[in-house]
């Protein structure tokens, strides 16, 4: 049964296909608290969107901003006592670590246990990632 959230975080306007990636990036795959997810909900902006409600969990901005590469238009609502006490948008971090994979098959990060690290490049329309190691560009499309 889905009930209203008393305390917790609501992530809205996630591209429908990226809901599970969001859970993964936030480290919620083994989470014990109640999580409600909606996928393929109608959205004016995205066509189909996803939404995630997590009970009794609050995130630091740097944790949330990691989502900016796969859900740049996501909004974050902080709920306390059934009320939205804060609403925020994500900011693209200058660097991201340990999330995306480098698309260069000869990059060291695809062969050895090295945490990936990228500079984010925003050309206005699209985000791309410059690998800190092999210096090649990875498109955000088809990241995982």
């Amino acid at each position: 049964m889905v009930s209203a959230l008393e305390n917790g975080t609501v992530l809205d306007h996630i591209p429908a296909g990226n809901v599970f990636k969001v859970l993964e990036i936030l480290g919620l795959m083994g989470e014990k608290n109640r999580i409600t997810i909606g996928i393929n909900l109608d959205s004016k902006y995205l066509g189909k969107k996803g939404i995630i409600k997590i009970e009794d969990k609050f995130f630091r901005d740097d944790e949330l901003n990691k989502l900016a590469i796969i859900a740049p238009k996501a909004t974050v609502n902080i709920i306390r006592d059934f009320r939205v006490v804060e609403k925020k948008k994500l900011t693209m971090p200058e660097e991201i670590e340990g999330i995306a994979r480098c698309m260069n098959p000869k990059c060291i990060t695809n062969h050895q246990p090295v945490k990936t690290r990228f500079k984010t490049i925003d050309n206005g329309n699209e985000i791309s990632l410059l690998c800190h190691y092999c210096e090649k560009i990875t498109d955000v499309k088809g990241l995982y």
């Binding site: 260069n104 000869k106 060291i108 246990p113 090295v114 690998c131 190691y133 210096e135």
Partner: protein
């Protein structure tokens, strides 16, 4: 603070010029035991002759000792040791690590794991900064300066790391570029975008003849078979350009032909006898420039 040289972008314009100045000093006097008592590791996970021998010669001429390997098959790497562990172990023994590795980004990673400076002697198709510095040294030596020159890059401009790094390094010195390449091997868009952003002019052509007479430096490259994933593509383009002495009748008197070597068919041997050939001297310059890089990173120059 330890300083490594992984990508030519790690050096500012001032540092580039400093290293070139110091290289001049080593060219005048190539035996200087300033690193006596030091040990430097040359670890080559991939074959190389010129680069490895010139680095090892540079270390010896500076009075330091060399340890290392030129083939990873006889090392713990063949037992599955990670690069991290190899580097951690080696950096406990030595004062500097010079490394070549087939994977791109391996040297950057090594520099983060090592407790001593790392010099990248080539990481796959990515960077080879000592080559770039010796190219700059050769350009400066033949032209007297680096500013406002017209550089014609010929051959594999798509996979050739030397042309990409040279382009980045020369961007400090208001150059003009000509890119001579077949359609399959054109200069990648990201480098052209970089030039546009910096307001540096370039022209592209398919014809080697077209811009021979208006360049100061003709930078020839080999089409490297090992960089191709499609053997048919390699066959189509491998012999696309061939420079011969007879083509050089109208060139500028100061024009020099550079090539990172090894060459295959792209420069005929009859060019060697012309006053424009500079590639063997360029290779020799590698020694002085590598001595300079080592001395600078270890804080001796």
């Amino acid at each position: 603070m330890k300083k490594s040289l992984i990508s030519i972008r790690d050096f500012s314009k001032e540092e580039i010029l400093h290293v070139l100045e110091v290289a001049k000093e080593f060219e005048k006097n190539r035996v200087q035991n300033i690193l006596e008592g030091k040990v430097i590791a040359c670890i080559f996970f991939e074959p190389s002759t010129r680069t490895r021998l010139s680095f090892e010669t540079a270390v010896n001429r500076l009075g330091a000792k060399v340890i290392g390997f030129s083939d990873a098959t006889n090392t713990s790497v063949s037992k599955g040791e990670t690069l991290k562990d190899t580097i951690k172990m080696v950096s406990n023994y030595v004062d500097m690590i010079i490394m070549r590795h087939p994977l791109e980004g391996s040297s950057r990673y090594a520099s983060e794991v090592a407790s001593v400076p790392v010099v990248n002697a080539g990481d796959g198709a990515n960077q080879h900064p000592s080559q770039t510095l010796l190219d700059l040294y050769s350009i400066m030596q033949t032209q007297g300066h680096l500013d406002g020159l017209t550089i014609n890059m010929v051959g594999d401009l798509k996979y050739g790391r030397t042309t990409h790094s040279l382009l980045q390094a020369m961007s400090h010195f208001s150059p003009n570029f000509i890119f001579t390449a077949p359609d399959e091997l054109k200069m990648p868009v990201e480098y052209k975008d970089f030039l546009k952003e910096k307001g540096i002019p370039y022209k592209e052509t398919l014809s080697l003849e077209e811009h021979l007479n208006d360049c100061d430096i003709l930078y020839m490259t080999r089409v490297q078979q090992e960089r191709f994933t499609d053997p048919m593509e390699y066959e189509r383009v491998k012999d696309v350009y061939r420079l011969e002495a007879s083509m050089l009748s109208g060139v500028k008197p100061n024009m020099k032909v550079l090539h990172p070597l090894p060459r295959v068919n792209e420069i005929d041997q009859d060019v060697d006898e012309t006053p424009y050939a500079y590639y063997f001297k360029q290779a020799e310059n590698g020694l002085y420039v590598r001595m300079s890089i080592i001395a600078y990173l270890l804080g001796y120059r």
